[in-house]
Symmetry: C2
Subunit: 167 residues, 2 copies
Amino acid sequence: MYVTSGFFLGILSLYFGLNSPQMFSQATKYAIKSVIYIWTQSLEDRKVGAKEIGANIEAPEAFTAKILQLLTKAKIVGSIKGPNGGFFADESHAKYTLKDVVKTIDGDQLFAGCSLGLPRCSEKNPCPLHFEVVKVRTEIDHMLTAKSMKQLAVEVIKGNTRLAELV
Amino acid sequence: MYVTSGFFLGILSLYFGLNSPQMFSQATKYAIKSVIYIWTQSLEDRKVGAKEIGANIEAPEAFTAKILQLLTKAKIVGSIKGPNGGFFADESHAKYTLKDVVKTIDGDQLFAGCSLGLPRCSEKNPCPLHFEVVKVRTEIDHMLTAKSMKQLAVEVIKGNTRLAELV
DNA sequence: ATAATAAAAGACAATTAAATCCTTTATTAT
DNA sequence: ATAATAAAGGATTTAATTGTCTTTTATTAT
C-alpha cells in the first residue's frame, strides 16, 4: 500500500475560524501612530517624511504613505512637498482627536449602526445586543474624544506612553 | 479632439479609505444570530437545519453551515446527522454566553492584546490608548457575559428583541 | 439492505483589506 | 533653468475574509 500524493495536502488545509477582527483596522492603527508621531516631532519643530514615520511606528513605508494622504486630505495633519518638506502639525490641527482619525480611515461603523447588521435596529425595535452596545459605545466615544492627538503626543514625549517597542 | 478611452476609467478608480471594521466580523454576526435562533426553536422542541437557519437570520446558507460546524465543534450547540436531524441546544449548552461565541469565531483579540498592536503593551509600558481601552473592554466584557445565549433567545421569543427585519 | 436526509469536510471562487511599486506634481536649492 | 527632493496619485499584487459548491459520512425510515 502506497502513501497517496494527497497525503501532505491535509496538513496545508485551511483552518476556517480564528479570524482576528480588532477594535481598529490595521490602517487605522498606523494612522493613529502616524499622527501622534508627527505631533511629537512638530512639537520640536521638525517636519517628517513618510519613510521616517514608517520606521518609527513600525509600519510599512508605502502603506503608511497612502494613509498619510488620507490624513492630509482630511486636514488632520499638514504636508509640504519638495526639499525640506514633509508632514507636520500645528495649532490649526490641535483640535483633532482619535475619533477624527478613526472616522477618516475606518468610517463611523464602530460608533454607528447595528452591531449585528440589522438595517432598522433602534430603541423601539432593538436587536438582542442593542442596549448593551449603547453602553460600550459610550465608553468608546469617551476613549476617542477624551484627549486631542496633540495631548497624546505630549504623553509620548514625556515618556509616559510609547508608539513602538523599546529596544 | 476626441475623448480618450481612459475617460471612464477615472470613475472606476478605487477609493482607498472608507473601510468598515465593526465590532464583530460578519462570520461572528451570523454565529450570534444562529445560536440565538437555534435556541428559540429548541425551546419549542424543534431541531433546525442550516437552510432554515440561514433563511431566518438573513445569512447565506452555505456560509452559515460552515459557521455552524465551528459552533458545533466548540459544543456551543449540538447537532445530529440524518433524517430528523439538525442543530439544537439543551441544558448542556445553557451556560454559554456571547463571549464564547465570539471567541469561537473571532478569537479573543477584541478582549486581549494591545489595540494598537504593540507586542509588549502593559500597565507599566502602555501605548497611548492603554488605560482607556481597559475601560472599554470592561464594558465589552459585560456586554458579552451579562446574559446566556438561552436568555437572549427568550427575549426574542417574547418579542422584546429580534434577529431579522420585520415585514 | 436500501434510499433518503442532513451535517461534516474539503476544494474552490469572489470580494475586501493590506501592502507595494511606479509615475506625476510641487517645491526648493543650486 | 535645472537637478534633487518629497508628497500625491494610480495601478497592481498579495493576503485574508467571505461565500459557494461538491463529496463524504452518519443516521433513520422504509
